[in-house]
Amino acid sequence: MTASSSPLIVLDGVIYPGGLEDINPNDIATIDILKDASSAAVFGARSANGVILISTKKGKSGKPIITFNDNIGFNKLANKPHLLDGNEMLDFRADAIWSMMGYDSTSKPGIKYRYQNPTKLPSGSISQADWMALTGATGDVTTEWLNRLRLKPIEITNYQAGQMLNWEKLIYNDNALQHDHTVSIAQRRDDYNYYLSLGYLTNEGLTVGDTYKTFRTRLNLEATAAKFLTVGMNFQFSNRDESSIPVNLSDVTRTTPWGSYYAADGVTLRTSPNDDPGNNTHPFMDQTYTDRMYQYNNFFGSLYAKGKLPFGFSYQVNFSPRYDFLMQFNHQSALNPTIAAKKGVVDRRNQTTYSWQLDNILRWNQKLDKHTIEATFLFNAEKFQSWNSTMHAENFAPNDNLSFHAVQSGTLPATIASDDQMATGDALMGRINYNYDQKYFLTATARRDGYSAFGQQNPRATFPSVALSWALNEEKFMKGTQKWLDYAKLRVSYGENGNREIGRYAALSNLTSGTFVFVTSGGTAYNGSTVAASNLSNPSLKWERNSAINSGIDYSIFNGKVSGSIDYYVRTTKDLLVNRSLPTVTGFSSILVNLGEVENKGFEMSMNTVNLERKNLTWKSTISFWLNRNKINHLYGATPDYDPATGKQIGSSEKDDLTNQWFIGHSISSIYNYGIQGVWQVADAALAKTYGYKPGDMRLVDLNNDGAYTIADKQFLGETTPKYSWNLRNDFRIYKNFDLSFTLYAKIGQLSSFSEATNSQLNGGNVFYDRSNFYKIPYWTPSNPINDYAGIGSNVGGPVSWGVYRASSFVRLSNASLAYNVPSQLAKKWKFDNVKFYVNIVNAHVFSNWIYFDPENKNGTSGGAPTPYNVNFGLNITL
């Protein structure tokens, strides 16, 4: 529950520790996913979370094949709520301040209209003179109104001059461009084959100034050195440039449309566009006054030799090194008015990572009659090392014109720090594959894995697995089914594997060192050192263990018209690596331990069908459906129960972990919280008061009706994980040359946090409803007594902590594409082997009741970057 749960990536047969973004998708030949524990076991006990097998391209034919892949796309805004414009904002502000005044409608006649636009008062409500008299004001009515709405002088000036800033226009790239170009060359000859590619991608984000660039290259080379020896290497280099500085979106909602872009000099950005520096700074401040270079370079290679030995033996050795270099240099200029006093701030971080793996694999193959045996023995060793240094300096003299290049000219070098890490691992594996007559299959594996993070007492653990399968259709008694049944295979497997994804030193007590200034009796200050433990050590920490039973069937019927698989699994995880909460009396908040048991049961099915096969039209579909049920079986074991009256032990029981919100018998993703039955309405004001709330606040469910909200009123509201998911892909081929496809996927039944419904987004930081601007979402007022959204600035504190959750089920049209393959004769005429044009829409549409940004990627509460949809135009040429 604490250890990472991302799947293991295996690239061309070796474990790949890098990121997917460093692999050019155009280089990928195949992607496979291994789910059952037995087949995953080859790649190490770390495969508990599944394995993604990626193979890159190789040379395939005798002549060099050159391929160009070019596409240009547009990223566009999708699923974004509307940001209030200047006039909408003033209406909102009027209601916000009215709310802060307790929706006063009675203290004076007409007081209800105090914040309304005096030039648009509803007829029969109150006269302009009476409206002015509400506060004893004289002079210009509009100025008085804007003063009541707490607008700053600059905002009043701009309102009167009709100068409104359209922040959405200023910050969003309406048609952000994406370029992706890859060229590759590949060839296979008798004794060698190669694949070489170069790719360049640049992607503009949805906001102005957000650009991502990457350069990626790959060389796959394999040579037959002798009849019995093949050597090769797969080599990948990538450079990512993440230097761009995004617009600060939360500042966009914290400022207002009535501010000014520039300061009085017309050049410098206005510190706060609406002169409210306590609440916002100019959204472009960092982008304008920061010089940044964030570069990530990495090399990943795999060198291998495969040798054939006598008597059915073969031997393979892989060495796969990876080098990562990152540079994160940042300079905040002294010209930035918000930090001008600091005279320049520079941060530099360099990190080098070097890791390697060595695999020695011995295989033995033997075939005797109908018996086929293959045995594999593996020995693996690995090492990880990283060296990280950071420095920070401020107050540059004589000036900071040299940006981050002259850190020594900072007169306040505040920190220099380094953090170096090392980890080691090893593995031994033996495996036997046996099959009889291509009908009965058996695989048995045993692994012993070691990892240094568990190195104090339990570095190694052993993981067995076994799998059986039966090709049913090969049996004599199935002869009668041959007409319709092409293939059927029953599978069952049991396997154990492990999880080690914790910090490299998480089991050790880490003494954090630092400094503290002391002063001698003579008044001289010096830096003294400080050390204190930051965590409790756990020398007995060990591998998390996962045991899974998978059963399933693979089938193909009606000459391949329908094929697919059905799977059922039960996966039990024990000795979970968990940050167990401790009573803070210990001085620690948690300790990393192996505890508890979690069970996952699931069902998965996928089906490929050929729906139509005509001369000018083929239609194929792929449907998958899956669900998973998660349950905590055990946590920390039984602990004593005491009688409150006497303090004597009266028994023992296993307790839930209320701090982490983990409950025995429930899913890890369960939401245990107060139910929300609506919004307190004016008629219930007296009752609301007894609970500590007022009309317009969210109304929690008082489960036990005792007239107070206490921990006893919490209940299980649902889960944050989907009840089930499905995926549907349809491919059409029309007139041989047109390919049309679309993919839908869905996640159904999950809840997501929706604190926006409180209209009081404390955690998102938008707390000043009388000073900021907002996205348009409904809100309660006495004259708009809705029940699903609270009033502006409603009370989200109160006697207990609670949250708002809403269903976030959705169906997404994730991909729609249309491709045209130029007929080969025509292409040949143009001297090409193959030419293809395509247009592709990613994230074309989401069907959901969710209203606030994307249901799957809400991304923060106050103005997180919206999810784009993009349109790509591509050209694919093979020479």
């Binding site: 941060d347 080691t424 400094t515 620690f588 409150p644």
Partner: protein, 616 residues
Amino acid sequence: MKNNIKYFSIFAYLLMVVVSSCNKDWLTPKPLSIYSPENTFVDATGFKAALGASAKNIRDEFFGDGSPIITESIFSDISVEGTDDKTGPAQNMDLQIRPDAQLNSGDFNRIGWYWDQEWIGVRMANTIITRLPLAKSLTDAERNSFMGQAYFFRAYNYYRLTNQFGDVPCPITEITTAKVDFATVKRDVILKRMKTDLEYAVQYVPWTADKGTVNRGACYHLLTKINLALGLFDDAIASSTALINNGTYKLMTNRFGVDAGIASKNVTWDLHRPDNKAAAANTEVLMLVTDRLGSAGAFGVGTGLGTRIMRQAVPGISIGTNIVTPNGKAGAAATGGNEIDIMNLYGRGIGRCRSTPYEYKDIWDDAKDLRHDSTSGNYMFMENVRYFAPALKTSDPTYYGARMQLYDSKGKLLCADTLRSWYPWPHYKLYVPDTEANPMQGGHSDWYVFRLAETYLLRAEAYVWKGDMANAAADINVVRTRAKCSPYTASQVTGIGTILDERARELYWEEPRKTELTRIAYIFASTGKSYNGKTYTLSAFSTSNFMIDRILEKNIFYRTNFVTLHNDMMKISQYHVLWPIPQSAILGNTGGRINQNVGYSGAELNVPALDKIPEQ
């Protein structure tokens, strides 16, 4: 087949050799950039660094945004939470001070911060105390001094815990496993143990030591507080007298330090200058915490935080358009660097820690008092501030640069929010120049934890409890006359209120006011002495106590249930004399029962608190 087996055996053998050859320490974890307890707590340097961490741990109370000391102040007679534009600040304690509520946020309150941080302090001290006897290379003198210093830090944290939360668990050795079976121990049992420890400390900790570390003066000072907390008034007089009579520490009565040459200033101003707190000439400081701009150990290094004290405590002059000129024009601007640069002189206050009239008006009984003097610039009144919004130069030139006024000539109020934007403040304490933020928020500065002035007031308090008003007056007068006040006669010392008034004058933003009020409330409850004719008991502590009665007497906001512009009511109840034990601590303690304080939900499950401290 036979051959195959042979080959197989050879390869298997070779593999075994490869594996076993690098078997030995291949998987031993090798920490490169982190220290471990085993190789650090072995010599004097290691223990000094551990004590350094304990010292640094008590610093943060006074620093940063929504600094914890504000929470101590708003549970007292001197301040309230002035933030009135959002939900969250601790104003209606009935609603917001609950075991399950948000208890550790600058936007709410810092009760949970104290709870967490004090237990970290206890843990750090326990580690030192447990490991000192094992460090063979230390001399006896070193070991005894380190032990005394560690006892100081443990006692410092337990003194705070027992006066904030009452009865609490009491671990006294290093915890190395997942311990979840704590039990609550009686407050006086814990304090008696701390008294014993400090009586050891005052024998071995040296009288003088580098500032930022513990010296014997600080140990005597803390021992005096604990003696008072236990109702041992003679012991308190003895321990404070030992400190005062030793002579190493003396009140500052003459001009000194950085501004000594500025004739218009005075010793009160000098005493609180950031550069003077740890100065060699300063003989008054017993214990301080350090924070120096540019040092790697500075508070919130790199984030531009520091004390942020001006932001917390200065009125929100520039908030919204709260302050207008008599012509109705916005009188203040929120930006720094204007022609009249108010924001970079007093800082951009937000009025979060809003003083009560008791603090800024009622207690000042001597016009000569330097601590309330605006002529020298020590104390600031809103009427001293000028209208400075640059737009006024054209829109309202009559008032640009004129002094601010609360009412116009016709009596119309010119400040839309007098809670947050209009009250006087002690500039001499809050003025911490800020070179990082523009406008200023309050920069880096050392801060007093214990000063000898408070020792005099503690001894005065002990005399008051004993009814010796003449000696009490003598001690109070040492502090008063330094601030150029006339001395009190014995008859002017009317009781504990006189002590509390003097503390409020002298120790603003230094004393943890809630801790001290609770300590005094315990003394009333255990001695049966009366206040305003009323007596108290320990058994009814959470339904009737001195602390809340005092707050309701002196703090007009709680007494009148003041309602803010945000429509929140200021309210405090008797059971708030003790803060709630954070629910997470009780829930995480699955193997035992940590008691909740009476008045909060969950207290019905309490079991009797222990009479003895568990040794493990």
